[in-house]
């Protein structure tokens, strides 16, 4: 790498983006954000010695229920009292929790007690003001990062730069240098004002400012290395950088007492901890700087390697379909069986109603489907002929004869026990439980994503297996054959036929279902699959999916 060329690119970048009124605007914005951050007086209280619950003068305490005569004055009867007085001798109060004023009133009424509460401030290391300064300085770069590479691509000037007598690494490094310097200068000015104001003492945290800026800019440029429009170039750093910095900083915070050097060397997070004064030794600051240099070199090299590529995926490939399947399945699991986790976390009252889960799950699947259809530009065919209807009804009715799957018959780890019934109820939603509209919408959403969108990308067999795994992750083998039957109907007769079969499978009343064990369950699903495959291979014209 040639230093003069890197500096030439840096000065080109600065002249292009920071000259004239643009530069003045950037400086004004930086001043508006960072100077108050540096000059504002401290708002957090310093660590204080432990305090006992200080007595407060309050209005009479509201009691739900009768108040003994000797306690009137400090306690009054009220419709919505916060406490109940269960007994007067000894005085017993019943409540979810006691506030300071209630305790004080009780002490006044009865006399001092043996037990006293005392609040302590935990010995927690809090970051200094400089951590805010560092993050704000980097946040100014959302727009410049969107233009550094994506903007050049959009204006077709990147090709011109690449054809000049400079290497890609020099190009990327020059741009990185400009914005790292801009963020560092902003942060340093704000820090100097903070030090002058007495908000923070000078220290090794000053080394963390350029390190954090350098690593953040490098990551930001890597995120947009293949983007060719400014919208995408702005959203990627905006959503990823704060998360990455927070996650790495938290990880470093957790391990810093055991291994401060490892914490300091974490990419992005280590410099942020140094900048925040949480790793305030010279050794940690120097380790962080050295690790940042290595990290930045590695990331810039990776960025330069991919500079000639474009992120212009338009049609859903097999991998795109798999990615869509993974994301939609994850979101379905979060929405539908996911709330069952609260039962095991000791808060069963927080478990949401299955209907709310089903609404969220259906919304997720519909959104994923519509996005996939918009990106592919191929709308699903909603036509269906009499043969398709007949086949769908036959398959659906046979599947509806299968014995209902009992959640108790599915053995799983205790942590997942509350999730099984939720999964079952949503995979085959009962209209008597959810209402016809919601149940039908949920089935339609599942059919659209798995029988149309995913089947187009990975084939109907793979899509059917994906549905079984998504719908009943704890025992997909119980429904995979039925899913294949529905999938075969969809592949031959279209998504509407698949939805009809699925609806009939889910909506079958329990009185019509055969009784029996797993043998009957498998037999009915196999029979349905046989009907679907026979109808598909009956030579009744070209498959619906392939019709133009």
């Amino acid at each position: 790498m040639r230093i003069r060329r890197i500096l030439a690119i840096a000065s080109y970048e600065a002249a292009d983006k920071l000259q004239g009124k643009q530069g003045l605007r950037f400086v004004a914005l930086a001043a508006a954000l960072l100077l108050p951050a540096g000059l504002a007086p401290p708002v957090l209280p310093l660590l204080q010695p432990p305090v006992e619950e200080a007595p407060v003068a309050v209005a009479p305490i509201r009691v739900a229920g009768p108040v003994p005569e000797e306690l009137r004055g400090r306690f009054v009867e009220a419709d919505r009292g916060t406490i109940q007085i269960v007994d007067a001798r000894p005085l017993v109060v019943r409540a979810r929790f006691l506030t300071r004023d209630v305790i004080h009133a009780l002490e006044e009424a009865v006399g001092p007690s043996l037990v006293r509460l005392r609040a302590y401030f935990a010995a927690v290391d809090l970051p200094e003001r400089s951590i805010l300064i560092a993050m704000l300085a980097v946040s100014l770069l959302t727009g410049p990062l969107a233009e550094a590479l994506p903007g050049e691509r959009a204006r077709r000037t990147l090709e011109v730069l690449l054809s000049a007598g400079i290497s890609r690494t020099e190009l990327v490094t020059g741009k990185w240098l400009t914005w790292t310097a801009a963020a560092t200068a902003s942060a340093v000015v704000s820090s100097v004002s903070a030090m002058a104001r007495g908000v923070q003492e000078p220290g090794w945290w000053l080394l963390g400012l350029p390190s954090f800026a350098a690593s953040s800019v490098a990551v930001g440029m890597w995120l947009v290395r293949r983007v060719d429009d400014v919208v995408g170039g702005a959203t990627a750093p905006m959503r990823v950088l704060p998360l990455l910095a927070s996650a790495m900083a938290l990880a470093g915070y957790a391990i810093r007492s055991d291994s401060p050097w490892l914490a300091a060397s974490l990419p992005v997070g280590g410099p942020l901890l140094v900048a925040g004064g949480l790793l305030d030794t010279p050794a940690a600051a120097l380790v962080s700087t050295a690790a940042t240099v290595a990290f930045v070199w590695f990331v810039l090299a990776a960025t330069a390697r991919e500079l000639a590529m474009l992120d212009a995926v338009r049609r859903m490939t097999r991998y795109g379909a798999l990615g869509m399947a993974v994301v939609s399945t994850l979101l379905w699991w979060l929405s539908v069986p996911g709330p069952g986790i609260f039962a095991n976390a000791g808060r069963p009252e927080m478990e949401s109603a299955p209907a709310a889960s089903l609404i969220a799950g259906a919304a997720v699947l519909l959104a994923c489907s519509l996005v996939a259809i918009a990106r592919s530009g191929v709308a699903p065919s909603l036509r269906i002929d009499a043969t398709g209807i007949g086949c769908a009804v036959a398959v659906g009715l046979v599947l509806g004869l299968a014995p209902g799957i009992d959640a108790a018959s599915i053995s799983t780890a205790p942590i997942f026990a509350a999730m099984v019934p939720r999964s079952l109820a949503s995979a085959l939603p009962d209209p008597r439980e959810f209402g016809f509209a919601l149940a039908a919408t949920a089935v339609a959403a599942q059919a659209l994503l798995y029988r149309q969108v995913l089947a187009g990308g990975v084939g109907w067999i793979g899509a059917s297996a994906a549905w079984a795994l998504a719908a009943l992750p704890f025992a997909p083998w119980r429904i995979v054959i039925g899913s294949l039957a529905v999938g075969a109907v969809g592949a031959r007769f279209g998504v509407v036929a698949a939805a009809i079969a699925h609806v009939l499978w889910a909506f079958a009343p329990s009185g019509l279902r055969l009784s029996g064990g797993s043998g009957i369950e498998i037999a009915t699903q196999v029979a349905a699959l046989a009907i679907a495959v026979a109808a598909a291979n009956a030579g009744l014209g070209a498959p619906r999916r392939h019709q133009v």
Partner: protein, 315 residues
């Protein structure tokens, strides 16, 4: 109107075909839901027992019966000072000190158990903790507020970026050559922004509602729609007034600053902010329900932006 619908659909399709934009829209819901689930799962796996450090074993049985783990140590107060424990009990002078770091269910349990054990002057029967609506509502409001701020910022980015991108790619010139009023091009972009952001916000909130339940989706969706329209209109206006040589970053930075400032206004003055677009998000974060009136303000600002676009020089 058909032309407006067609233009809007074209912009929507262009947005959805950007992989980064789609991933950005999925990000909030996935991240929030996953975080909630992982935290709850961690608690489920770890168990729910709290530890109280005691000096004297007199009340160990009562504390354990209350569901607390008891640890013996000769200096429990040090555990609190060092951050090693959240609850500690020791004798001091003629009484007992129940030291704590913050209010918790475990503190109430320990308090109740100690008073019973020591036959104190007054006792405390702790009711089983039901879902504390106010506490949960505050936490949910803060979470939804952060989500809404992200979508408001998305509105700013998309509002500014779509116009800038179409200008630089030449698509805007091609559209302006059509026999349509100029304002329709700005209106189409704002409508496309709403059509993309509001459903994505609904899906994200539906996921959170499924996990936490009782999320006031309607009020928040209205606030997000108002914020997206307003920040998008601001971005559109700033980019429309910027010339080609000024680039994108300056206009975007101004838009983001104004958007963040409006959120901060709502956070600081929620009684006022609840009625203003974008500021209603800040008000919602502190528990003041965003008002539907904010949508009217957003619509008015959008109309101004569209009218301004129609008459300003944009090339």
């Amino acid at each position: 109107m058909r032309a407006l619908a067609g233009l809007t659909l074209a912009v929507v399709l262009r947005l959805l075909r950007e992989g980064l934009v789609v991933r950005a829209l999925a990000w909030p819901g996935v991240l929030t839901g996953l975080t909630l689930f992982v935290v709850a799962g961690f608690i489920a796996v770890q168990g729910r027992e709290w530890t109280v450090v005691v000096e004297d074993s007199t009340c160990n049985a009562e504390l354990e019966a209350a569901g607390l783990r008891v640890r013996q140590d000769e200096n429990p107060e040090n555990w609190l000072l060092d951050g090693g424990a959240l609850l500690a009990v020791w004798r001091e002078n003629d009484g007992w000190i129940l030291g704590h770091v913050f209010e918790s269910i475990a503190l109430q349990k320990a308090h109740s158990a100690l008073r019973d054990c020591l036959h104190d002057a007054w006792r405390f029967e702790m009711l089983e903790f039901e879902r504390a609506e106010a506490d949960l509502d505050r936490a949910v409001a803060a979470m939804l507020g952060l989500l809404a701020v992200l979508f408001a910022l998305y509105g700013a980015v998309i509002g500014a970026g779509v116009l800038f991108r179409d200008r630089t790619s030449g698509a805007l010139e091609a559209e302006l050559a059509l026999p349509l009023p100029t304002w329709m091009h700005a209106a189409a972009r704002l409508l496309a922004l709403v059509a993309v952001l509001v459903p994505a916000a609904f899906v994200s909130m539906a996921i959170i509602d499924a996990l936490l339940s009782a999320v006031p989706i309607g009020a928040w969706l209205g606030a997000i729609a108002a914020a997206a329209i307003t920040s998008g209109a601001l971005g559109l206006t700033f980019v429309a007034h910027a010339r080609m040589e000024r680039g994108f970053s300056g206009a975007l930075s101004r838009t983001l600053i104004v958007t963040a400032g409006l959120v901060a206004l709502g956070y600081s003055l929620p009684a006022v902010g609840a009625y203003l677009p974008v500021s209603s998000i800040g008000a919602g974060m502190v528990g003041v329900t965003p008002s539907p009136v904010a949508l009217l303000g957003a619509a008015a600002l959008a109309a101004l932006a569209v009218a301004d676009f129609g008459r300003c020089e944009i090339v």
